[in-house]
């Protein structure tokens, strides 16, 4: 069997239908309704695109947690980056700002990076930090990569920092807003979000391994399944969680064994912790979460643009009035419960960050017309 065949098997309607039957059987045995949370925009895409919520029995629900790194990137950091560009311009230094397409459009009370470009600043969308780095090798400008993302994205950042160090590149800097996912899940649990099982993001887990999530089960008794991104993966994860609940088993299982190892990608982990140290960090609409941020270590401070320009951090509201992104990110509400959804707030005229990003729950609901 070729890999393409294998992947198509994970999209197979026949297998999906059979797992659904088993899900129904398990659901009949439940003594109470259950709620499962995932923390990944791509999982939300699989769930919504596949209409999985409407296929599940009534007593099994799926909620989305904080699975969108650009949605939770603090307003303060985006605005501070804009201030840095203005300061640099005033002092006669030309900055080329690079970031991802969705980060580029995220609204703040002081506008977005897209607005900065409209005002004549050099802002470019890149597909990867590798592309941003290549710009710095070709051009003389100071290239600053505004770098959001969870563990999956931090690994590439660390990979490029390795090149910056080895090649002694002076005109490439970053502004790290990288975040770690397990501490956010832990913070939600501590703040009272309750769910009966956690579907772990397959590609974050590729980096941190099954072992990166284990403590959540051990400490809080939450069953977990590491899942891939095809419909069969998602259904298999739901089935496995139901089975564990009915069997009274509290454990963590790996459904995505074709990619995720127990120990994760240790080379990537080493690179991340070579350059970064863990710190408390703010998440937009969720507040400060202990040990959830990654800051450059002192030794690598010279790669941080804030070592060159450091305007004061502004204090600004996280969200526009009426936007319930905070509740959506906590798994308390689905986008359709927001009064602005689809009326005032659309991908063309986004009010909150969850509508801009391709991984934002509001954006995904809008895109697939999920009005359930």
């Amino acid at each position: 069997m070729r890999t393409n065949d294998i992947l198509s098997a994970y999209r197979s309607r026949d297998i999906a239908r059979r797992i659904l039957q088993s899900i129904k059987k398990e659901a009949e045995k439940l003594s109470r309704p259950v709620k499962f949370m995932h923390v990944c925009g791509t999982h939300e895409d699989t769930v919504t695109r596949g209409g999985i919520r409407s296929l599940l029995p009534n007593n099994v629900s799926i909620v989305a947690g904080p699975g969108c790194p650009v949605c939770i990137t603090p307003v303060e950091d985006i605005v501070k980056m804009m201030e840095i560009m203005r300061l640099a311009k005033e002092s006669g230094e030309k900055i080329t700002l690079t970031t991802f397409g969705d980060m580029y459009r995220i609204p703040t009370p002081r506008g977005s990076f897209a607005d900065m470009r409209a005002q004549g600043h050099d802002v470019r969308i890149v597909y990867s930090i590798f592309d941003a780095y290549k710009i710095s090798l070709k051009e003389k400008n100071l290239v600053v990569h505004f770098s959001p993302g969870f563990e999956t994205t931090t690994a590439p950042t660390a990979g490029i920092l390795e090149s910056v160090e080895n090649d002694g590149v002076e005109n490439f800097k970053i502004y790290s807003v990288h975040r770690l996912t397990p501490p956010a899940v832990e913070a939600l649990i501590k703040a009272g979000t309750s769910f009966d099982g956690l579907i772990d993001p397959g590609h974050v887990s590729t980096i941190i391994g099954v072992r990166g999530w284990e403590y959540i089960t051990r400490k809080y008794g939450v069953p977990q399944v590491v899942a891939g991104f095809e419909p069969v993966d998602m259904l298999a994860a739901i089935y496995t969680l139901l089975k564990m609940i009915n069997d009274g088993e509290v454990d963590i299982k790996n459904e995505y064994t074709r990619v995720v190892k127990y120990q994760g990608n240790t080379a990537a982990q080493e690179a991340i912790y070579k350059f970064f140290r863990v710190s408390d960090a703010k998440w937009r609409a969720l507040g400060i979460i202990p040990n959830s941020g990654l800051e450059l270590r002192e030794k690598y401070n010279w790669i941080d643009i804030r070592s060159r320009y450091n305007p004061p951090t502004p204090s600004l509201p996280d969200l526009e009035k009426g936007c319930i992104c905070g509740a959506v990110l906590r798994g308390y509400a689905l986008p359709t419960e927001c009064k602005l959804f689809g009326k005032v707030c659309t991908p063309e005229t986004p009010v909150g960050p969850c509508m801009v990003s391709y991984e934002g729950t509001c954006h995904i609901f809008y895109k697939y017309g999920a009005l359930i």
Partner: protein, 74 residues
């Protein structure tokens, strides 16, 4: 942005590879998958291969599901 997709390695030059995604070819760094070879499938995220896809595991896990579902639905 977090999206990571599978592709096939068709060429390797130092720490970069050319990865084919159903006919579209792009460069990807392979720093974190050291033992990767031409012909392997990898998961690529923002320009970096983050892991190889283990084809044997994929087949094994599908077979295991097939058995579980057969037992369940008999």
């Amino acid at each position: 942005m977090c999206l990571a997709i599978p592709g096939k390695v068709v060429e390797i030059r130092g720490n970069t590879a050319i990865v084919d995604y159903n006919g579209i070819r792009k460069e990807a760094r392979i720093d974190f998958v050291k033992d990767v070879r031409v012909g392997d499938y990898v998961i690529v995220h923002t320009g970096f291969a983050i892991e190889k896809i283990d084809e044997d595991e994929a087949i094994k896990s599908l077979k295991a599901w097939d058995e579980v579902l057969r037992d369940e639905n008999e």
